[in-house]
Symmetry: D2
Subunit: 301 residues, 4 copies
Amino acid sequence: MKESRMHIGLVGLGKMGGNMRTRLREAGHTVVGYDRNPDLADVASLAEMVEALPSPKVVWVMVPAGDPTRSTIAELKELLGEGDLVVDGGNSKYTDDAKNAESLSEKGIGFVDCGVSGGVWGLQNGYALMYGGSEEDAAKVMPAFEALKPSGTEDGLVHCGTTPGAGHFSKMVHNGIEYAMMQAYAEGWELLDKVDIVDNVPEIFASWRTGTVVRSWLLDLLVDQLRADEHLDKIKGYADDSGEGRWTVEAAIENAVPMPAISASLFARFVSRQEDDHAMKAIAAMRNGFGGHAVISESEA
Amino acid sequence: MKESRMHIGLVGLGKMGGNMRTRLREAGHTVVGYDRNPDLADVASLAEMVEALPSPKVVWVMVPAGDPTRSTIAELKELLGEGDLVVDGGNSKYTDDAKNAESLSEKGIGFVDCGVSGGVWGLQNGYALMYGGSEEDAAKVMPAFEALKPSGTEDGLVHCGTTPGAGHFSKMVHNGIEYAMMQAYAEGWELLDKVDIVDNVPEIFASWRTGTVVRSWLLDLLVDQLRADEHLDKIKGYADDSGEGRWTVEAAIENAVPMPAISASLFARFVSRQEDDHAMKAIAAMRNGFGGHAVISESEA
Amino acid sequence: MKESRMHIGLVGLGKMGGNMRTRLREAGHTVVGYDRNPDLADVASLAEMVEALPSPKVVWVMVPAGDPTRSTIAELKELLGEGDLVVDGGNSKYTDDAKNAESLSEKGIGFVDCGVSGGVWGLQNGYALMYGGSEEDAAKVMPAFEALKPSGTEDGLVHCGTTPGAGHFSKMVHNGIEYAMMQAYAEGWELLDKVDIVDNVPEIFASWRTGTVVRSWLLDLLVDQLRADEHLDKIKGYADDSGEGRWTVEAAIENAVPMPAISASLFARFVSRQEDDHAMKAIAAMRNGFGGHAVISESEA
Amino acid sequence: MKESRMHIGLVGLGKMGGNMRTRLREAGHTVVGYDRNPDLADVASLAEMVEALPSPKVVWVMVPAGDPTRSTIAELKELLGEGDLVVDGGNSKYTDDAKNAESLSEKGIGFVDCGVSGGVWGLQNGYALMYGGSEEDAAKVMPAFEALKPSGTEDGLVHCGTTPGAGHFSKMVHNGIEYAMMQAYAEGWELLDKVDIVDNVPEIFASWRTGTVVRSWLLDLLVDQLRADEHLDKIKGYADDSGEGRWTVEAAIENAVPMPAISASLFARFVSRQEDDHAMKAIAAMRNGFGGHAVISESEA
């Protein structure tokens, strides 16, 4: 199957989608790409894209999670038919997948959800793919999976379950783990960066890349940044969060799974985005109340 | 013993010490107060204070923890003798007490450590006292304890153990608990203050003062503050920490006691004092590394 | 309005509902109670209960959250009409309230959601009530509110907002705060109970009930338990969680509100219910991997 | 310098020390090993070991942290002299290093502290070394460092600072980071292992080893364990902690560095070792207090 060539429609040609198109074409597949931005698109409409595909038609959706993905899949439901397949490769919440799968199944259209990791490194190194859906549906997109995944390894491609959402759920947890790993390095770095006893913190991190328990790809990334800006003076201490971290903690709560480190990592990001620490206002208020005046230190309370 | 009158030396006449002198005098005790600030002091020196006391001499030290307390006790060791008593009523770390007790015992001087809670409310309502030391030593200062504690209740005065430091240890844990209680209200308040679904948050908190599980003195304080400044706009989201919170977590770690809520409360205070979130710089740096460029969102990684 | 007498239907006569019926009747109101258990009920059916009420009919639903509440409200929708009112006094999730309110409004039936705190103490001391809904709807049930709330205080009854769910949302946050307050005491108690330096831990907690920053009703409860069983040897270290703690953290995540202490308290409960610590299996597994054999201590890694 | 051959004394020939002796000898160095167990030792006493070394004598101490290391260094102080060097390669707390360095300096003996990572893998792959001390002292042991570190890379050996303890401090933080990384994987694994939506969890983790953000050596270890025992049924959910995790959090607290994820990881280990969850007893006790009886659910409170 690795050797087979396939036609695939690809919706969403931003940085990720665009690079994926390139990697698919380099593997010999025929990609018909559609994007709302005509400068990026191969065709002028979803309809034209679908028209250009041989049956069974396979369309990979690579647009932002939520409404854009939902509306794209709704449109594709109109355009596709029995035996065709939609792959959602975006960052959809796993609970969306069951709804999309059921809706598409009304017309006999198959559905595979696929979490994709790799960022801009994926074009060259391959994307890690975690997918959910039936074996039969997965088989239809397998040549594309094989082209997109890292070559020369069995890693980087995994069937996470037959239930729609299994792939996105796995990718979601992957991101939750990522949050806490990043927080781990960040906490250690802050301590090392602040104490007088050690010098040369970037080189300490660099040394850890070989022979230690904490070696990882994230460590490699951090070393590059620290070597360029020792105390990270040029970087603001501010981090957004995508939905995956939140959903991971929510899924943990729903399943009574304790998740202290991942939730702490998520909350640390929330705090980093507050100009004034909101909860701490209430604590300062209570401390004022202790003494009638703010000048009374708590240790007297 | 409640009826007896005593003479007591009191070192440190700041807001706490000064009020305690007043409360002791109102109960009929004779207080000889010393402070480095001559405007506050009754006598010109520690020596003069000691001179003025009948034997067995009882001196209550109410100065800042650490070096000031240590040096005051060292001076008192020179001035006092067999059968006299030093009471450390400050916020000393419990580990200091064993050292002070041992040093004083070399001259037969007794030692009692006493954690004091009450703030500016203590003058009127009484101070909660938690003390450590031998029964024999405690008996010497008991009339003062009875005068300082809240009247009309058995609460507010407790012998925490005969080991020096038992009192300060208990007061330390009291403050650790306080940290997490305050954090509990603060987290709940932030959520209520931020959502659209509820109005009238100060009155919600006010209503909780009767009949609910969360009613407490801290809640009363918070209600007063919220009624004066609904969203606490005038209060900066910044909180110092005194040593007790840190020592509580350290003692927990030493004893393998999990302390997730109290430590979270302590760390929240640390974060509130950072102008730029330091650890988050490292996270932002790694996220930059994902994509080569900051413009790549993490959800693509 | 306080003086007015009203008729009210009450669905659900378990411990809470039964006590509320008693308190309402003691205030002079006429309560028609229905319960699936005929031994508790005043009438044989919901229909009979509705029949017995004068218009505008007011029915207070006090059954378990989720399906029982939803199906009861659906039945009442059939039985009630224009101008009548349903009060949900159970522990419903706030998101259910909007749905119930909208459904009832199709027939012109009003809706008030009301979080109720008080437990078995409520019969004697009154229940703390937090409600959401329109002023007009609330007016219809106000005499019952006045009877149920603690007397002699303005506390214990609050209008949290006009949006359906405002009351349950507030009660939910109240419970979230309660989780972290309990955790605060529990962490402090564990430390005090485990160290050698202090004796007499129950009396330390008892002493805190007057004059300290941590005095609260929860503290009072804990003191009673500690005095009966100093080390709580007879109590299993196991705690269930009702939905409110989970929903509070979920609402926090949805609103990007950091909630480290409340979430830690929730997770601590999850862990307490695991026979074998599940996550720790993975950590033990990795540690085995360090050395090839479990006998290698991590400090060598 | 890499090419030079040196003589070195090595105290402590357990699994770590024994393997290090082997690796040093394979690099051509002359190692005189001493252990209390005569079956492992090359010489019968520390004195004999010191006797066998040419000046400047270099002795590497590889015994358990705390008293064993302190007493070994005290003995070596008697045996060594001006210009000689002691290397502490064990897991000493960084605060011990200043004391040892100062004591040895009284006789002109140099001191280098060195954190060593690598476990049983170190013999083959090399040990990651983080050291503190003067350049002059470090130069005396550099040939051994070069032999022990991973070959073919600049990583795995770093001079962390000239202050005694810089090396152990860095290794300590490394272990703190390790705690939270392990916790991150463990939390994610527990969630994946518990939900129905995904199958094949070991292969999901395996797939992450290439192309993802969470790839790391720890992940590799975990995959091996999961492939052997899918749900880790054979492994008890119990994890010890070595001192480094505790010391990391203590150092963070001392420096006002927030460390929510690493502390959560430490506390999770503490909990895993409790037969009955101690703090949760207090929570269960308070919950009993709500209702007078344990049978009253909290949602009624």
